[in-house]
């Protein structure tokens, strides 16, 4: 049953990147929707919304992603959805991403000068118009760099889905390692693949940050 590490094993690991990417994409899409809701809640004039959003952030930033994965994984069962690593990983990562993106985007919304909101009020614009036409477009610009930065964290976070049995990059590495017993090769390859995914994003985020700093310095 033992195999040596050959091209098949190599490609098995490399192709698992697609699952890491897919999971990251799903989590990011879900996190973006959740994050915008959380961010708007945090800056909402309605007190219960503010506190609700704050509590959400506190809980999800105050507990390990791994535990969130386990809880969702085994908790889905209780709500009769059944245990499915795909659903569990997607839900847990979405909640996780919502909390972090929500907090990041709240900062960006608050970074839009208050004069912009005042001008909108003075023109008689309501909450919706002020947010959609004035505040959010400007916050979006500021948010690109930290959002890309968070994407790196999210991609790395998907590795934890391996612990609940989801076969993505890390899990693929484990499976091959269990069959070949060449951990140095296997985990070097896995680490290298993550690095190839994440590093360009990190560089891009830093580049955007620098450009933004220049733009605001003027």
């Amino acid at each position: 049953m033992f195999r040596t590490f050959g091209p098949n094993e190599f490609w098995y690991i490399v192709l698992a990147v697609q699952w890491t990417l897919l999971l990251s994409a799903v989590a990011f899409a879900g996190g973006a929707l959740g994050g915008i809701a959380i961010a708007l809640g945090r800056v909402s004039p309605v007190k219960p919304l503010r506190y609700g959003a704050l509590a959400f952030i506190r809980v999800f930033q105050g507990t390990p992603l791994l535990m969130q994965l386990f809880l969702v994984f085994f908790g889905l069962n209780i709500f009769g959805v059944g245990i499915n690593p795909w659903v569990a990983a997607a839900v847990a990562l979405t909640l996780h991403a919502s909390a972090y993106l929500g907090e990041i985007w709240r900062g960006c919304i608050e970074a839009v000068p208050s004069g912009q909101s005042e001008a909108s009020w003075a023109l008689g614009l309501g909450y919706r118009d002020r947010m959609t036409h004035i505040v959010l477009p400007q916050a979006a610009k500021i948010s690109v760099a930290p959002t890309v930065g968070f994407l790196v964290q999210l991609i790395k976070g998907t590795s934890l889905a391996s612990i609940i049995g989801f076969v993505e990059l890390t899990r693929a590495g484990q499976i091959i390692n269990n069959a070949t017993f060449q951990p140095l090769t296997v985990f070097s390859l896995v680490a290298a693949l993550y690095f190839i995914l994440c590093w360009p994003l990190s560089l891009w985020a830093r580049h955007l940050e620098g450009r933004f700093a220049v733009a605001t310095a003027r």
Binding site: G82, I83, G165, N178
Partner: protein, 239 residues
């Protein structure tokens, strides 16, 4: 759950491990394979339904079953009283004997020899429970998420000993001949197919199926193919 229900649906969902060679593995194309997979195929064929193999892991296989994600587990599940409270077991379809296994130059002949040693086991496996029972207080049992990690710990020299089945042992011996040897036997473990509690009709069907395939030698053929030997006597006679 009854056989007719499953037959009405036309598909049976069977959970199995994919990281437990040679019982459950992934073939080169990444599909489940191994002894368990072949037994599952045999069973599905017998029932006349489509087979849907669902990969599960050691820690989550029982939750999978009880939460209706799979109908049947053919997942190298060893029969234990604790598990019997959660699931209903069929007659044995496979069996392993588990040993303390490790570095050839280490002299260990019984539980007292574990004193002061690191022993790798898969968390909550039969090895884990039996070693935990017999090991002296100062033995250090290191629990990993799966068997493979424990083997890895032994091979990488992180622990000198591990709890392992005869199957795993024979594989390690082909990998690294003469480096390790068997220290002492812990217990014989029969593995059974599991269904949700109360699925008596289904269980009866499976037992009948097992009786037939044991009788006609097809189960033994699979065992020869995958594990490299005939079905152990305690499996054939075990009820």
């Amino acid at each position: 759950q009854t056989p007719s229900e499953i037959q009405g649906r036309g598909t049976v969902n069977i959970g199995l491990l994919v990281d437990f060679p040679p019982f459950g593995i992934l073939d080169e194309a990444g599909n489940p394979d191994g002894y368990d997979a072949d037994v599952a195929r045999l069973l599905a064929e017998d029932m006349g339904v489509e087979l849907n193999l669902v990969p599960v892991t050691g820690p989550n296989r029982i939750p999978y079953l009880v939460s209706n994600q799979v109908d049947i587990l053919v997942a190298s599940l060893g029969i234990t009283p604790e598990r019997a409270e959660q699931v209903d077991f069929s007659d044995p379809y496979a069996g392993i004997e588990i040993f303390v296994f490790g570095d050839a130059d280490l002299e260990v002949t019984g539980p007292e020899g574990l004193s002061g040693q690191n022993i790798a086991v898969a968390r909550a496996s039969t090895q884990d429970t039996s070693i935990t029972e017999i090991a002296p207080d100062d033995a250090n049992i290191q629990r990993f998420d799966d068997d493979a990690s424990a083997v890895q710990a032994l091979l990488s020299g992180q622990t000198p000993l591990m709890g392992a089945s005869n199957v795993v042992i024979s594989q390690i011996n082909t990998m690294a001949p003469d480096q390790f040897d068997t220290k002492f036997s812990l217990r014989q473990q029969s593995q059974a197919i599991a269904v949700r509690p109360g699925s008596d009709e289904l269980l009866a069907y499976i037992n009948d199926f097992l009786g037939r395939v044991k009788e006609d030698g097809s189960l033994n053929a699979l065992h020869e193919e995958w594990v490299g030997g005939p079905l152990p006597e305690f499996v054939i006679s075990g009820q």
